[in-house]
């Protein structure tokens, strides 16, 4: 009976011993980091921040939760320099480098991958962090709209040619022959350099001249 229980007893002993050691261990000089974070928009209030929000030091070596009024505290961190980040599903917060010393803790704004020797962007302690931006997870998809349909280049081209089909003959009919010839001359001269690549503009132009030619011939017969 006793042999069954003895491993447990050992654990209890180890625990008691460990307490002893932990109580006797010299305390390493340490500091605390605290601050507040807030949301964004009209009348931001920390209570609107997600309960998932966490503040981390050095990529998760230490983690703090935020209270309903936006406060966070790392009660006990050893001296050294730390990267402080806010993990929030709602907002993007600036990253801060915090130097914990016994007397004079300091904090600087830093950006990812940049060197830490630049001490220009000092921020006040305790930290008061406001978001850089709200987090956007989605791309906006454009739904079906009639104006999109007609803003389509294909549709524009088609619409233009249909319109030309109707208007050109009437336009030509009302024009005096001299101006006609002038325009034709201009069209021929602009057509000249277009042989390198058959681009869309050129094809369209050809298309319209073909039309006008047909209209012209019809007029002659009259």
């Amino acid at each position: 009976m006793k042999s069954i229980l003895s491993p447990r007893r050992i654990v209890t002993y180890v625990a008691a011993l460990a307490t002893l050691i932990s109580l006797l261990a010299p305390t390493v000089s340490a500091g605390q980091i605290s601050g507040t974070i807030n949301g964004q928009g009209e009348n931001p209030h920390p209570r609107d921040l997600s309960s998932r929000t966490r503040v981390t030091l050095n990529g998760g070596k230490y983690t703090a939760m935020i209270t309903k009024d936006g406060k966070f505290i790392f009660a006990d961190v050893p001296q050294g320099s730390y990267l402080l980040e806010v993990q929030s599903p709602q907002y993007v917060y600036p990253t801060v480098r915090v130097v914990v010393t016994e007397k004079d803790p300091r904090a600087y704004l830093v950006s990812y991958g940049a060197d830490w020797s630049n001490d220009n962007n000092i921020v006040q302690l305790p930290l008061a962090l406001t978001p850089r931006a709200a987090t956007e997870y989605f791309i906006a998809r454009e739904g079906f709209k009639l104006q999109h349909l007609f803003a389509n280049p294909m549709m524009l081209m088609m619409g233009f040619s249909v319109v030309m089909l109707f208007i050109m003959p009437k336009l030509m009919a009302n024009m005096d022959p001299e101006a006609m010839e002038e325009i034709q001359g201009m069209q021929e001269s602009t057509q000249m350099p277009a042989f390198e690549m058959p681009d869309i503009a050129a094809t369209l132009a050809k298309f319209s001249t073909g039309n006008s030619g047909a209209a012209g011939s019809a007029k002659k017969k009259q």
Partner: protein
């Protein structure tokens, strides 16, 4: 000369294929990938699990509470809706932050958590937000134990008394969390305190808080009780009680709860039950032998009984003594005891009697009274569990209920909680319980309020994808191959006629099919809306599972999870993860592998094999294997005796290797089980399989000792005796790491990976040929002692598994060991991440992701002059490496996999911010130019060097809270573009992802209505212009 010209043509051919793919991918991979809002919840689903509760509390009200608060083994505190089991909120704490106590205080929830640090927090009942937090600096818990934290509420001012680290007692204002006073045990004291209680004072002292602890003696512990003044925290008196206690588990603290009621410490000492009245030196004792004469069910006691706390609030003196009885140690009996206030002695209230299995007790009071009822829960049969409610005032079992509780799914009770409340005229009962498989249940008198959560899924270890069979194969071909009785004796012509008849029969579905396409409303339908569901629904009982068939693109699969609890759970990936089947393997089955050995075939169902390690009756390790039909979860019995549904190997498990070999009888893939005696067992173990294995055994190599923390690697190959009777493994190489280094992580290329192109096309049309060795592994070791820097360093090795040679090695100084080190390997690439502490105090700290790319040669257009790749040549790869700052803390890594490997790869990260992130390989490319890109680099479309993108649109899980991701698995679908992603650990998140966008199906953005409108407009224009043209032509002819 001839050879060089042939090489030239080869180069050309390769160049063009590679170039073609590069062009295709350049088109598709150029735009940023992201979800749009309407897709969220449609293509993905997410199960929020909390783990198995071991503590629960309800805001006690007479009318019954709507919420039940639980704390789980997964370090999660959650609020569940009492009637439905749905999650209201949860707080997932750190991995090293276990929950010690939870208690409903003033309508909110107080939690005591922590290990290295200690936190007392009051959580908002509605949202789980922290109302206040008390985290005393420099305090943690007593290392290695689960006691030393305690909590009680004072009666006169409703403030909290919190004990921590077995030494610190604080009175804390419950409203705002400020410290009123702090008492700490003498430094270096040999006493660890484990309990605090407000109870009747002594002498002039009315408001007294007792702190109860165990003082370490020579071989046992003795009680030390400190009385503190409740208002000032001043120490009044210390009682040292002569006693000898063996362990903390032998003690209980009962009674108290106000300054009028006496408190007691109860403990077992030798064969005595002793009771100390707090505030005095009075100790009473009763012999266990005397108790047995009263509690007759203890007659067959096989071991010393234990003290069981019933979990009543302060003020109640009741406790239970429970013991194992019966010839086969398979039953338990228990007795309920009270303490007589006048004499301070234990009084027997009742004998609970002997019941099979484990009994779990919990207690509550009747609504509006202090009358205690005690619930005893136990398993009474393989399919049912039993609940017995004992009313202490009536001295009678007032309620008995047999509930369905299948043993092979849930096993025994581990934790119960009971709540009684009044509804209308009557009293309503609600019972919450956890079972051994990890799941959490609720029983209620009202059937619609019974629910269960499959919380075993919070402990997933591994996932295997099972492809579903095609519908038409199952219906018609099963007939044709003679599966059904009637179809057996048919001639070919008759079968043809039957098939024809079948097709004609199917024609009747044609009108509906055509209509479904012609229906104009289908053109303008809105996108599907995400259906609301809860984790409770996905595991709802008594629902029928329809036969499953593959969808058009093979995206729907069965996900079979193995869990740390020993349960296997199959989910339907297409239906919000509905549970299809589950099976619990009891008594310490450690599931090592889960392997699909046969995919769905024309007439054969898919088979999954479970390889587990367990112990036999004699305490020896054995390997057990089970064959299941993956569609139903039933044991797959074969007519062939060589294919048993379950089998075993009498030795511990070392490794399971899946061979590229199929047995001719059952068409299953062959597994090699390697046991601790270095013996090899083939699975299935038939004559023909043994013969084939013997012939191929020369070409098999594998790596062992590949555990995290080990200090060397070993390579093995199988040896087979001439008659293939005995098989074993012998070491071929050993690779010890330098002193102080141990493995932090290791990874190998996934076996199912397909390489689509041999090389990488450069801007100048040259080709770098990929290093295609399938047998190299990546091993990352860490050394805690700094080499040159100030922090530990890590070394990355690429190792050829066949001959044990190091192909590449790199060391990173100043690495953080508190943060995860991750590595993934795919094609000719390796990606790993780690935390960099920086070389000097002014250098930046942060995560780094390193990308390695392995090529056959440093120079372009140069290949190894060999048709086949051999590990035994001296060739070493040319490795390009580059590190990138990475702004996220990741705990899991995965790589997308597609059917033909043509789509570009995305590296998937499970982040500590509880999201799943996808980063394209183009960002993790060591060729990204450092300066301004040159013309040829621009042509290659390389991004200039920079940190990895932080864009939240790269989160596959958008704003979902995907907690505790440990692994990310991917599986190809029939669409080359699309891969199924499963992120699991605590939560299960499943989505489909197209790293190169969906180039093989119409985009979601494609507007069917726009296409239709264009056609209609064109038709209308034709209709209008046709007569005009006709008219004109007529005119032309006329004039």
């Amino acid at each position: 000369m001839a050879s060089s010209s042939s090489m030239g043509t080869l180069h050309k051919a390769t160049f063009w294929t590679v170039a073609l793919w590069a062009i295709v991918l350049a088109f598709v991979a150029n735009t940023a990938l992201a979800l749009d809002e309407s897709q969220a919840g449609i293509i993905d689903w997410h199960h929020k699990w909390i783990g198995t509760p071991f503590l629960s509390t309800v805001p006690r009200t007479v009318r019954g509470s709507n919420t039940v608060y639980v704390a789980t083994e997964k370090n999660t505190v959650a609020a569940l809706r009492a009637k439905s089991g749905e999650l209201i909120w949860r707080q997932v704490l750190r991995e090293n932050e276990p929950v010690h106590h939870i208690r409903a205080v003033a309508g909110h929830l107080l939690t005591l958590t922590g290990s290295a640090e200690f936190h007392a927090r009051l959580l908002d009942s509605k949202t789980g937000q922290v109302l206040w937090e008390l985290s005393p600096a420099g305090e943690g818990i007593v290392p290695g134990t689960n006691f030393g934290q305690a909590l009680t509420v004072t009666s006169e001012d409703s403030n909290l008394i919190i004990l921590n680290e077995g030494a610190h007692v604080r009175k804390v204002n419950a409203k705002v969390g400020t410290e009123i006073w702090h008492w700490r045990a003498q430094e270096g004291s040999p006493t660890t305190f484990h309990s605090v209680l407000e109870a009747q004072g002594f002498g002039d002292h009315q408001d007294v808080i007792y702190v109860i602890g165990l003082q370490r003696g020579i071989s046992t512990f003795s009680f030390e009780v400190v009385a503190l003044d409740s208002t000032t925290g001043k120490e009044i008196k210390t009682f040292n009680i002569k006693s000898s206690v063996e362990s903390f588990e032998d003690t209980l603290t009962v009674g108290g709860g106000s300054n009028g009621k006496p408190g007691y410490a109860v403990w077992l000492e030798e064969d005595l039950v002793k009771i100390l009245t707090l505030g005095t030196d009075r100790v009473t004792e009763s012999a266990l032998g005397d108790i047995v004469t009263v509690v007759t069910s203890f007659e067959e006691l096989v071991a010393r009984p234990q003290l069981v706390s019933v979990g009543l609030p302060e003020g109640h003196n009741m406790f239970i003594i429970s013991g194992t009885v019966g010839q086969y140690n398979d039953a338990q009996s228990g007795g309920l005891f009270d303490i007589d206030v006048a004499s301070g002695e234990a009084v027997v209230i009742t004998d609970f009697g002997e019941r099979t299995g484990f009994s779990v007790y919990s207690a509550t009071t009747k609504p509006g009274t202090e009358d205690v009822v005690i619930l005893r829960s136990f398993r009474d049969d393989t399919d049912t569990g039993a609940l017995e409610l004992f009313d202490v005032t009536e001295r009678n079992v007032t309620f008995e209920k047999i509930i369905p509780l299948e043993f092979d799914k849930f096993s025994h009770f581990t934790f119960t909680a009971v709540e009684l409340f009044s509804r209308g005229q009557g009293v309503q009962l609600r019972i919450y319980f956890s079972t051994m498989d990890g799941s959490f249940h609720s029983y209620s008198d009202i059937e619609s309020e019974c629910w269960y959560r499959e919380e075993s899924l919070a402990y997933t270890k591994d996932v295997e994808f099972v492809d579903l069979p095609e519908r038409k194969l199952w219906t018609q071909d099963a007939n044709e191959v003679g599966q059904t009785e009637g179809a057996k004796n048919l001639t070919i012509v008759e079968r043809y006629i039957e098939r024809l008849a079948l097709h004609i029969g199917q024609l009747k579905g044609l009108p509906a099919f055509v209509l479904s396409y012609a229906n104009p409303s289908s053109l303008f339908t809105k996108a599907p809306v995400a259906i609301e569901y809860s984790e409770v629904q996905i595991g709802a009982r008594n629902k029928t599972v329809q036969p499953l068939y593959r969808d058009q693109f093979g995206i729907r699969k069965i996900l079979v999870f193995s869990t740390e609890k020993g349960k296997v759970v199959a989910l339907d990936s297409g239906n919000k993860g509905q549970i299809l089947w589950s099976h619990y393997y009891p008594w310490g089955h450690d599931i090592k592998n889960l392997i699909v050995v046969r995919h769905a075939n024309v007439r054969l169902p898919p088979i999954i094999v479970i390889v587990a390690e367990t112990t036999d009756g004699g305490g020896n390790k054995v390997i057990r294997t089970y064959r299941l039909n993956a569609l139903t979860g039933e044991d797959y019995e074969s007519e062939n005796y060589l294919f048993p549904a379950s089998s075993w190997v009498p030795s511990g498990h070392v490794a399971t290797v899946k061979l590229p070999l199929e047995d001719p009888d059952e068409k299953t893939q062959v597994l090699v089980l390697l046991d601790q005696r270095m013996g090899i067992t083939l699975y299935p173990n038939t004559e023909s399989v043994r013969e084939t294995f013997k012939t191929m055994s020369d070409d098999i190599y594998f790596m062992l000792e590949n555990k995290i923390g080990s200090k060397e690697l070993k390579g093995y190959k199988p040896i087979v005796t001439a008659d293939a009777g005995l098989m074993g493994a012998e070491p071929t190489w050993t690779l010890p790491f330098p002193e102080g280094e141990e493995i932090a992580t290791l990874t190998e290329r996934p076996s199912y990976e397909v390489l689509a192109s041999l090389g990488r096309v450069l801007g100048d049309r040259g080709v770098l040929y990929k290093y295609q060795n399938p047998n190299f592994a990546t091993v990352v070791t860490v050394n805690k002692t700094p080499k040159q820097g100030t922090a530990p360093y890590m070394t990355v090795y690429l190792i050829d598994v066949v001959k044990g040679s190091i192909l590449y090695q790199a060391t990173h100084e100043n690495v953080g060991l508190h943060q995860h080190i991750l590595a993934a390997q795919y094609e000719n690439n390796v990606v790993y991440t780690f935390w960099s502490e920086g070389d000097t105090s002014s250098s930046a700290k942060g995560y780094q992701a390193v990308a390695l790319e392995l090529y056959e040669s440093k120079s372009r257009n140069e290949r190894t002059e060999s048709d086949t790749f051999s590990s035994f040549t001296a060739e070493r790869p040319y490795v390009m490496a580059q590190s990138f700052p990475f702004s996220h803390a990741a705990g899991a890594i995965g790589v997308t996999s597609t059917k033909a490997g043509i789509s570009s790869k995305d590296i998937l990260f499970g982040l500590s911010r509880r999201s799943v992130l996808a980063i394209n390989k183009r960002y993790l490319d060591p060729r990204r130019p450092m300066g301004t890109p040159t013309a040829s680099e621009k042509e290659e479309m390389l991004y200039p060097y920079g940190a990895l993108p932080e864009d939240p649109r790269l989160f596959l899980s958008y704003d979902l809270e995907v907690a505790g991701t440990k692994r990310i698995a991917t599986a190809p679908t029939l669409l080359e573009s699309t891969t199924v992603v499963v992120a699991h650990g605590q939560d299960v998140f499943v989505t489909r992802h197209a790293p190169s966008k969906t180039f093989d199906i119409l985009n979601e953005d494609f507007s069917k209505s726009q296409l239709m409108l264009t056609i209609v407009v064109l038709g209308a224009v034709l209709f209008v212009t046709a007569p005009m043209v006709k008219n004109r032509m007529l005119k032309e002819l006329w004039y």
